[in-house]
Symmetry: C5
Subunit: 386 residues, 5 copies
């Protein structure tokens, strides 16, 4: 979808209807900075607090943002996961509990924003974009995830309460798998970012398969649907590129800019995550170039087929039109009796056989001509391949 | 419109006739720097002074620029808003009151200029470009807004007295909504810039919808109008890009270059405004790539349809031309009585039925041939989709 | 013109014949640096000296370069304007009077050079390219202007004695308009550069109009001439870009590099001149993209028209070929008397009317078929728009 | 191959089936960093240790990674070459022996990774991509080679036990050819990198030949296979570019970044290797541009041929259709006896010869017309060239 | 030529057969650095020593490299010019005499290398690429020239003993023209580089002329040869660009990097040489864009002509097919005597004239229709221009 928003007054994009892509958020021109635009049909926020240290890990579904406050200053890592943007009141109270800058709250709520990293006094705001395959398989939906990293806590805000790609991370915390519970909140932020970036790969996989199918289709049997599919892929790859490009830059900024909130050890891990983002971008660009090339192949293929159609028409017409003319001549009714010049052929003893001979001669010459130009060979090749 | 200016002597662009785009201003070659080119039909300037502090806010429509002078050095913020460029006298007196550099005055008056930021001794010149949807909905008009930021004042100069996108800002000042009256003139400048940048989104929205409509049209029913529309969108997106690209750079320069007139707090807000400008540019580029792709789709789609037309012609011709030849043969008038070789078929008992049998056989063979090549299937698909 | 030079021995481009564009100058490979290549048909140099200070201004047409020498070291500004490159002797004596580096003299004489700025001990060499509309209106000619800026003098060398775009500047000096006589030679150099840059605008204006005309022509009535015009515009815009691009860089170098010969005050004015060069480049790039898009529109438009031609042919052929076949059948001469199977229709009471009925039925079915596919509608739209 | 992986659960690419290209590795989103994904059908690792100094060189096939440990700290250079990734146990023990960072081990095992250089405390990780011609000749397979450079050792890990391009290097060590045994492990790493980069040339050679063949084919006889071949080349060149581009950057990073593990002398050699990588990239880009141009030539060539087909059809139709009409007229059966106006020509004495005269006149006029337009000439040229 | 090398075992490019372009040199993967690959058919080296100072200049054809040794350390400038790479022995002894680094010797011998500048202890290696017009005029051959600049000597190595573009330089030394004998070896190196760069211009000249011819041909009479020529130009311009691009960078490196071997005075001259290299690149890029545009014009032009062919066919068919149908109707043999409904027209008194009237009416209506659509006008324009 490119711009489904029909009423200028409705300023937030429905991010998950069947055809949605990322249309960036915009304010009403002239509106105050920090204005929150709550979509009427946004789901109410669900807040889950996971608090863990190397030894223990608890998971609480809290009702009010204030319940989290007690956990934030403890040494243990507190992951507050908010899903759903449907209540201005709760979101503002959340901002108060975490002492968020008004612009941070605006960026979190007024989705979609461009992925970015911004440093505030003792917090780091990371806006990321998560992509997930639809159940139908061939398309994807996107969702903004905002991460606010503090000294011992991580606040994540998602648009939708339903899916995310963090299930494995929660499992690793719960079961104390790997080293996640030995690290601080910055490692958790890295883990989530890594999950988000890795989530692009299955979608690219799909496009890889689709392009492969189209490569056969476009030469063997180019139809109108093929054309639509190629354009659709180009459009969706543009969307993917628009999501991953700033995300890569954001991760790079995390590595390069010396924020105290990110330890050197985690920086090494982020380098790995950055490599994956670059890989995603590589693949997106490769697929874009392939689909552009496919468009050229399509046009050439259609022209090629038209050429074959034309050849058939030309062969048939060129052979039969002269013959029909000959037949037409001897169908004329000039009065034979009036003059010896009037169609004497009609009275010849071998008139009819001679007429056939002439016609067969004409046809033979033309067939030999077309054979020499190689039109039949080409043609039969094509036929046998269909 | 690309270059409507027919008389080399008329040096200022009419910025708002139905077809206008941004053609940059140019001087008569060799004219003095600082020369003001007043368009004959430019509306006379209307000057409005809004002076506010946290506690009070007044709004005056002043007659002469000199009336503003008293307000400029006070602690309260003075926003002098000039609309209309139709009087050289008033503009020069304005320049005197605000002690503007001659080049600043030239940039303000000789519209359109390229968006930019320039630092002068104790002033900052910001040239911005405002876009507004036309009432017709499908096109937009653009207008230059020049902002001159001083310590406690902001001078804004617009081309047209009619619309701008600052109504909400005036309302916020009047009603003391948000924090605008607590800040200095730099915050006001940010607020106006933000309104200008946000004003691009509704226009992009429109292009999104138009492209979406064209995506259907271009495959289903590509006509000459479709082609014109695609080219028009490409042309207008070029204009939009030319407006927003330097604007983004200008905002970035405001953030990076350490002018004393911009406080650090406002710099944080400008970062947000910069993000929005990047989003606008992102969308413009995406739409441009989509419309380029649409042009390719158009050509392929037209070729595809021609192919179908050709197939129909070829099927009909290839089947009927041989049949017509057969009929032509037996319409010949060779004299049957002169020789047993002359068209004996005409006298056969089953001559006519056999002739039909031959013709039906030929037609059947050809139909089977076309069926095998899949021409009918393709064809019927197309028909049913129209 | 792309390379009109047919004799490898003739090494200088004729810069102003009807088809000329900028082909850069080149030496005979291996020739000494500083070799002057005087074109045989170059006009002899005309030297005009304008010497002015705030109070006085004189204008002398001098015969020998040596006459200028006395003026160079005075406090007043001396503008030595040389037009025409047709005398090696005079040019060498000029080099001696101004103590020019051999490479500077080569750059001045061996036109065309790429626009650039080079700093020598106490001189600044600025190579610029001036464009002027031809009288015919639709094309332009270019000429190299070399500026050598010293402490109190400016030497300008032009290729042709006839036109330049400095008339207004001379007028301003003569009449003491504006502040030009209050400034030093660097301001004069800026003024001339500004005139040169502003000289690009009327030419771009013309291309704007031509593109606008082509936009209509290319959809309404694409002919061979349209194609030639689009390619011509693309070629000439390439030339313009090749002229303005290095010019912009040269002006930027003047602003950034801290030569003592340019005062800070003039730097502010050069910034304005730089903005204009960027505007020119902006417009050139926009027009280039538009003309590329026009080429695509052309191809699509031709395909579209071919499609319409094909449809007409197909409609007529598809309707009449079967009918002609039917008529052909009943033109056959099978002997009705030999057998009841031989063309009994010919003897039916309603044979002929039935035959017409069949033919009309076939035609009706086909017309309905084409109507359903929308071929007629499309077709009539087209007709009515021509 | 673009995305052969059909099951989202199978996360490692089969890197060497007939159609494979480089699809980058990806983790299951949310999986732990350092997770090793062992492909079920990966061959078990074979470990070969080559230990050499200037005087001696030994070669051991070791069973367990631990056997290598003793050699690592000696002054002699130890090259541990591991081929095959089929055992998680052995790979983990290898990681323990060489004290590899978990992310290094992940990069080595979870192929394919993007070529890169990463510095760890006292090790340097170089990920490279080796390409080898298939036996079939026209395609290539790629394999990841990971190099871990320590003070006196080099660990190399390859995906496949079968081929590599290091045979000559092993020979040089064994026979003490050149200076390789006089240098440290960094020189060995350079030698291997150089072999890998030089391995791209024979493959590019092949593409050069293929493009040359296509250049003839595309103009002389453009078929559907030509189109497929051009697209295949474009796709494979994209893969090659994706391999060599980051490799070039990685080598550059080795030269620029001052790691202690690379001596200045070897840096000079790496500069040479970098030049070769740039040459490879140069050729890849040139071939890509050539194949894009070929696609354009293809389309133009097909259009050109269609034009010739159309001309033939038009010549034949335009000449014979009017003649057939004339013949048709005199085949009409108007009753000559009913009126003197009814086809009196049929009873003329020279009716039939006159009729022929008219037909020959029509044909002659048309033939002259086509000759003047140059259709025959063009046509015969084409014929004679086939 | 794109990859003429058919045997993978033959690893050095034949650089001068009729179709050659620059395919970069490559080693056998894994071969030792410094390995010299002597082509079997390379001509044996010819060594010429030119030793000059301001007062004297001698020219010796020496047999062995050792003869040069005595001249190298003297104050006079020694130019050792080696032409031909056919003897490994001599080349290695040359390396010994000049104490060349093994990689330098490899770069000199294993041609072609990418143009570059490399600094060694007291030597500067400059790899350049010389282009020369073939005698046939329309194509060019390229040759590598390696320059090794020492304190008082310059070693140049060329591939071929036959031509180079240094004749004028030798003449200037012999006759003491200009200042060349007053300068050191660095000035000589500059002079040669300048000759090499200036050698590109005559070749570009040729392409300019060829493109100009093609511009006419492509619209007036686009044939298959036109297409081949455009593609050939694109391919050769790619080769030229690949030669001049790194050359420009190399010259820039010479200017910027502060090697002691280049004096400041010569740096000024190199700046001039750099400008020429930029001009060459400018022209190459311009010609590439023009030839890309020509390809588009070609396709459009072919489509346009096809359109005209189609129109002719359609006009003729659309007019005569209905007429032939009418004639066919009255050629039917329905038995007039059996019924009054059977073709009563045949017995009408004015049957035949009425029939003609109907046919003429049909034709007139159609001709008017085509005239209104402007098909004839277009058509006649085209005809008159051929």
């Amino acid at each position: 979808m490119v711009g489904k928003r029909l009423q200028p007054s409705r300023l937030v994009v429905p991010p998950d209807d069947e055809e949605s892509t990322i249309d960036y958020f915009y304010d009403v021109p002239g509106s105050m900075p920090g204005t929150l635009n709550i979509e009427p049909d946004a789901p109410p926020p669900v807040i889950v607090l996971i608090d863990y240290s190397e030894k223990t890990a608890i998971r609480l579904q809290v009702e009010t943002p204030e319940e989290c406050a007690a956990h934030l200053d403890t040494e243990s890592v507190s992951w507050v996961d908010v899903k759903g943007l449907g209540s201005e009141d709760i979101l503002k109270r959340l901002g108060a509990v975490f002492t968020l800058h008004p612009l941070v709250l605006e960026d979190i709520v007024n989705v979609p924003q461009r992925p970015k990293v911004e440093e505030y006094e003792d917090q780091l705001l990371i806006i990321a974009r998560m992509v997930m395959l639809r159940r139908s398989g061939r398309s994807f939906l996107t969702e903004q995830v905002s991460l606010i990293l503090g000294k011992h806590y991580l606040l994540t805000v998602q648009e939708e309460p339903e899916n995310d790609c963090f299930a494995t991370v929660r499992e690793r915390i719960r079961l104390n798998k790997g080293t996640i519970r030995k690290h601080n909140a910055d490692y958790l932020a890295y883990t989530l970012l890594d999950s988000i970036v890795d989530g692009f790969f299955p979608i690219l996989e799909n496009y890889g398969e689709e392009i492969e199918e189209l490569e056969d289709e476009v030469v063997a049997n180019p139809t109108r649907q093929t054309l639509e599919k190629i354009h659709k892929i180009k459009r969706e790859l543009l969307t993917l590129r628009r999501s991953i490009w700033p995300q890569r830059d954001a991760i790079n900024a995390l590595i390069r800019d010396g924020s105290d909130l990110i330890s050197d050890e985690v920086r090494v891990y982020l380098r790995d995550c950055y490599d994956h983002a670059v890989q995603v971008l590589d693949m997106v660009e490769t697929y874009r170039e392939l689909s552009s090339s496919l468009m050229d192949v399509y046009l050439s293929s259609v022209s090629n087929r038209m050429n074959e159609v034309m050849k058939l028409l030309t062969i048939v017409s060129t052979i039969f039109i002269p013959l029909t003319f000959v037949a037409g001549v001897y169908g004329m009714n000039f009065n034979v009796e009036k003059s010896p010049f009037n169609m004497p052929e009609l009275n010849w003893y071998l008139g009819y056989p001679l007429c056939w001979a002439v016609m067969i001669a004409i046809a033979t010459v033309l067939i030999v001509f077309f054979k020499r130009k190689g039109w039949f060979e080409n043609f039969s090749t094509v036929k046998s391949r269909d």
